[in-house]
């Protein structure tokens, strides 16, 4: 079997594209391709080339189509790109579709055993005898399926010029310690590489070259980053219920806690796998009331189930941290697709007049920092605090600077212990004392006769006594509103790149990567933009100011209803609202720069 480069004629002979393309592996889930893809990505990363990996997987456990995309980009662009230059098509089910969507000039790597005809003459086709190569590399039939994936690692590495030493290092890292696995898989990689070096005649217009842009950086998923934040944030009670894509946040956290927070067989934490999300929310509320730093993590359906408890905690002023790793739609929506669809829900969750702080990390470092900050904030504000990730951030691989050790200590908020109680004239749980809307609290078990109070919904006066008096009610409600106003100054402040341009792009969360890339593209077209990345709700005043200074503001949302734009409408003075224009993306895929670019140009060129 030799390689036909059917497309050579149609391809323009130019310098290969260096360090700026994507590799997509089409396969089925549960087939073990994840290790192969990780090795490929890590090898590129170790070559110093900025890289990102995004897994597009189905909502089942094994056997359905999955696409993994590795983007290598010398500028550091890590957003999804709509199409890929190198496609490894391992899944017979999707092969024809995968071929159809190839861009002209792309490289297709597929299994020649499949006996299909590839009817595209504008692409480079490498028909690899995977079966034969795997058999040679792995005599054991049982392991062969897994090893097959390593063959494409070898082929891809060879044709793109990935350093074999880096592939080997990545592979050793992946199978750490398991010598037999290393040997076997390395053999398969080499078989693939050897085959390619002997058989690929076509000139491959894509090439990877060493850079120095990843030194000291790490690759991490946002869920793991948030887990590390919880570990260092002093989280002590974890109550969770598994749900994709949030499960790995708690699972990682449990791993870290067990490793780093057990001394002499005693844990400085308690983890409960609750019976459902109502229960996990209730446990967080109970633990927060009793004075510990408690968290849960869930996704949309869980958030909906927590609505009553979150409202209760708002009115009773009980701290708690709620992570929402957002996904698409209801339970039988697209649980393995990404969306920023819950923003509105999170901010207003529960019936009645309720508003909650929401932190919105845009990358793993911020996920780590926000996780830490959320506990401080929850205890300072005595209220439920949300941290809104999404599937893209939570479960995909992100390159980042290593995290910094916190310089600020814990803020445990306004808690009166026995000693403090001794000094105060009176303790009134729901009183306004400092003018910031935040009252003082005591913890159950405080050994002081003044400490106790009885906690119940919103039907209380400043002294936590049951009251149905109208004036008591408005007092409590107004103070709560004031507290949310205080939160504006305490939440993470926006990330701003100000260029004194007329146009401002306003985005949040994982849209960051695509927006950064789109801004460069716009600039290349002569359109300069300011950039305001919202890091939290309620909005800081600075956001108002920046909007006031802009002529037009493009608000980028990964949801249908333009939820961030809607929240801005609620908060901004009427005169500013006309400036807002919506760019929305809601097909379940991570946002790409092209969508942002088009969104802006559509209007700017109109």
């Amino acid at each position: 079997m030799t390689v036909t480069a059917q497309s050579e004629a149609t391809l323009s002979r130019r310098e290969p594209l260096v360090n700026d393309f994507s590799i997509e592996v089409a396969t089925v889930n549960g087939s073990g391709s994840q290790s192969a893809n990780n090795i490929l990505m890590r090898a590129i990363f170790q070559m110093g080339i900025p890289v990102s990996g995004k897994n597009l997987f189905p909502s089942n456990i094994a056997g359905l189509p999955t696409w993994f995309t590795i983007r290598a980009n010398r500028h550091g662009y890590i957003a999804r790109k709509a199409d890929s230059e190198i496609v490894v098509a391992m899944n017979p089910e999707t092969l024809q579709a995968d071929v159809q969507k190839l861009r002209p000039g792309a490289v297709l790597i597929y299994n020649s055993d499949l006996k299909v005809t590839v009817s595209r003459d504008d692409v480079i086709v490498l028909a690899v005898p995977f079966g034969k190569l795997a058999t040679e590399a792995c005599p054991e039939v049982k392991l062969r399926k897994l090893v097959t994936n390593m063959v494409y690692v070898g082929v891809v590495a060879q044709v793109l010029g990935i350093d074999m030493a880096e592939v080997e290092a990545a592979l050793r890292k992946q199978f750490k310690g398991k010598e037999k696995a290393v040997e076997l898989n390395l053999g398969a990689v080499k078989a693939g590489a050897a085959w390619a070096s002997e058989n690929v005649e076509a000139e491959i217009p894509y090439h990877l070259e060493r850079m120095d842009a990843t030194k000291g950086k790490v690759i991490i998923e946002g869920n793991r980053a948030a887990a590390i934040g919880c570990l260092f944030g002093g989280c002590t009670v974890v109550a969770w219920y598994p749900i994709t894509p949030s499960s790995s946040l708690c699972e990682n956290l449990i791993g870290y806690l067990s490793k780093y927070r057990v001394k002499d067989g005693k844990a400085s934490f308690a983890v409960v796998q609750a019976e459902d999300e109502l229960a996990s929310a209730g446990m967080v509320v109970g633990a927060g009331w009793a004075g510990s730093r408690a968290m849960t993590a869930t996704s949309g359906p869980g958030i909906s189930l927590m609505a009553e408890f979150v409202g209760y905690a708002y009115f009773t002023e009980i701290p708690g941290v709620f992570f929402d790793v957002q996904r698409t739609g209801p339970s039988t929506g697209l649980p393995t697709r990404t969306m920023q669809g819950d923003l509105f829900s999170l901010h207003t969750l529960s019936h009645g007049d309720t508003r909650h702080p929401v932190l919105i990390p845009g990358n793993p470092r911020e996920a780590y920092e926000d996780a830490m900050a959320s506990f401080d904030l929850a205890e300072r504000l005595q209220t439920p605090v949300f941290v809104a990730l999404d599937l893209d951030l939570g479960m995909n691989n992100w390159m980042t600077e290593p995290f910094e050790y916190p310089t600020k200590g814990f803020d445990r908020g306004k808690v009166l212990d026995a000693e403090a109680l001794e000094k105060v004239a009176e303790f009134a749980r729901y009183q306004e004392v400092d003018g910031d809307g935040i009252p003082y609290r005591t913890l159950p078990g405080t050994p002081h006769p003044k400490a106790a109070y009885f906690t119940r919904g919103s039907g209380h006066d400043a002294h936590a006594r049951y009251s149905e008096r109208p004036a008591d009610y408005t007092f409590i409600m107004d103070r709560l509103a004031r507290k949310l106003d205080t939160a504006r100054t305490l939440v993470p402040q926006p990330v701003i790149d100000w260029r004194d341009a007329a146009i401002t792009l306003l985005a949040y969360g994982t849209s960051d990567a695509a927006v950064m890339e789109a801004r460069d593209q716009l600039r290349a077209q002569g359109i300069e933009t300011n950039y305001v990345r919202v890091r939290a709700l309620p909005f800081s005043r600075d956001i108002h100011d920046r909007i006031a200074k802009s002529a037009r503001v493009y608000v980028v949302d990964q949801n249908r209803d333009g939820q961030m734009l809607e929240l801005l409408k609620l908060d901004l003075p009427a005169s500013e609202i006309g400036k807002l224009h919506s760019i929305r993306h809601y097909d379940g895929l991570p946002l790409d720069a092209q969508s942002v670019l088009e969104g802006v140009l559509e209007r700017e060129n109109a």
Partner: protein, 343 residues
């Protein structure tokens, strides 16, 4: 008048120190009687009220934590989900002595799921169901513990089989299961003292008549019905650790259950010889008496040695809520190690 030193308990507190706000329940409500016995039992056991945490869901019953132990923190949470709140709080601070008050609606209807899982986890707390067969606070609809054929004042008849919370708890592996009647203060007091001594979930299903909506003829949860039908399984006594037991009881006539803290529950035989450490026997007794339409009270099952949730989780001896940054934030070396693993 000569001032008299007030009577106090082992920690020097008076009965008054265990009281709460004035009840706003209907005059004669069974729940108030339960409140009274709770006050007495905590006083009697010399429990420090400032170490107690009170929990409840929603209902007339769930209001009662406001009416006892004023010096204890309490939380009147949401309907049917108190177990999760209590679980969280008791994990957060293992030094707290937890007592939860629920109703039959709060537990057997909306709260069924959380009740089952609380019991399964053996979370260390007293869990009292003030069971009147109706939703008192919403004006008297049937709850899931109403008996078949029970009639409301409006004439509505219940057709659905009742949930027997005691059988259910025993079936689910509960470590302490008892039933009592708010009109039987002596038994209730003894059971409460025993429950305080128990480490694990102590389920107490207390028939507690709703005088406003379910105390008429045709109700099987009325004072009259309960008084006429109550069959105590045994005569229950409680002997604190520091008191001597031997002298008082004849062997053969009385079973003694030794609790963790050295105190003892005494069960004096009445009609039958009942062994509360036999789960299967408990299930059979409950099922049979139920089929016969009898209203059995007593300590159905107890296992003082069953591991509770806090122990199972191997939590730090110091309450989690009291741990500070030093205990909770690992050093920079740990962060470096983690980061190193990701390079």
């Amino acid at each position: 008048m000569a001032s008299q030193a007030p009577v106090t308990n082992s920690i020097g507190l008076a009965l008054n120190d265990y009281k709460g706000a004035v009840s706003t329940l209907c005059a004669g409500c069974g729940h108030d009687a339960v409140t009274g016995q709770i006050v007495r039992a905590f006083y009697q056991r010399g429990v420090d009220p400032q170490r107690v945490a009170k929990f409840s869901g929603i209902g007339c019953s769930s209001k009662t934590p406001a009416y006892f132990l004023n010096q204890a923190h309490g939380i009147n949470s949401v309907h049917g989900r108190m177990p999760s709140v209590a679980t969280g709080a008791l994990l957060a601070n293992r030094d707290l002595i937890g007592i939860g008050i629920s109703g039959d609606g709060d537990t057997a209807s909306i709260g069924m799921g959380q009740f089952v899982h609380l019991v399964r986890r053996n979370v260390p707390m007293i869990y009292i169901i003030e069971n009147n067969g109706v939703y008192g606070l919403t004006k008297g609809q049937f709850s899931a513990t109403a008996d078949v054929g029970s009639v409301l004042k409006t004439g509505v008849v219940n057709d659905l089989p009742p949930v027997d919370l005691c059988s259910l708890a025993v079936e689910l592996g509960a470590s302490f299961v008892a039933r009592s009647f708010s009109g039987d203060p002596k038994q209730l007091a003894a059971l409460l003292e025993a429950a305080i001594a128990h480490r694990g979930t102590a389920v107490l299903d207390v028939i507690s008549p709703c005088v406003t909506f379910n105390n008429h003829e045709g109700s099987t949860k009325s004072y009259t019905y309960a008084k006429e039908h109550e069959i105590p399984l045994h005569e229950i006594g409680f002997v604190p650790a520091y008191e001597n037991l031997e002298a008082e009881y004849e062997p053969g006539e009385t079973r003694v259950v030794e609790m963790h803290d050295g105190s003892k529950i005494t069960l004096k035989k009445l009609e039958r010889d009942y062994d509360p450490s036999d789960r299967l026997a408990a299930l059979n007794t409950l099922r049979q008496t139920r089929d016969e339409g009898l209203f059995l009270t007593g300590l159905f099952y107890v296992n003082p040695d069953q591991e509770d949730f806090t122990s199972m989780l191997k939590i730090h001896d110091k309450p989690l809520s009291r741990l500070q940054e030093d205990d909770l934030r690992p050093g920079p070396d740990v962060l470096s190690a983690i980061m190193q693993g990701l390079v």
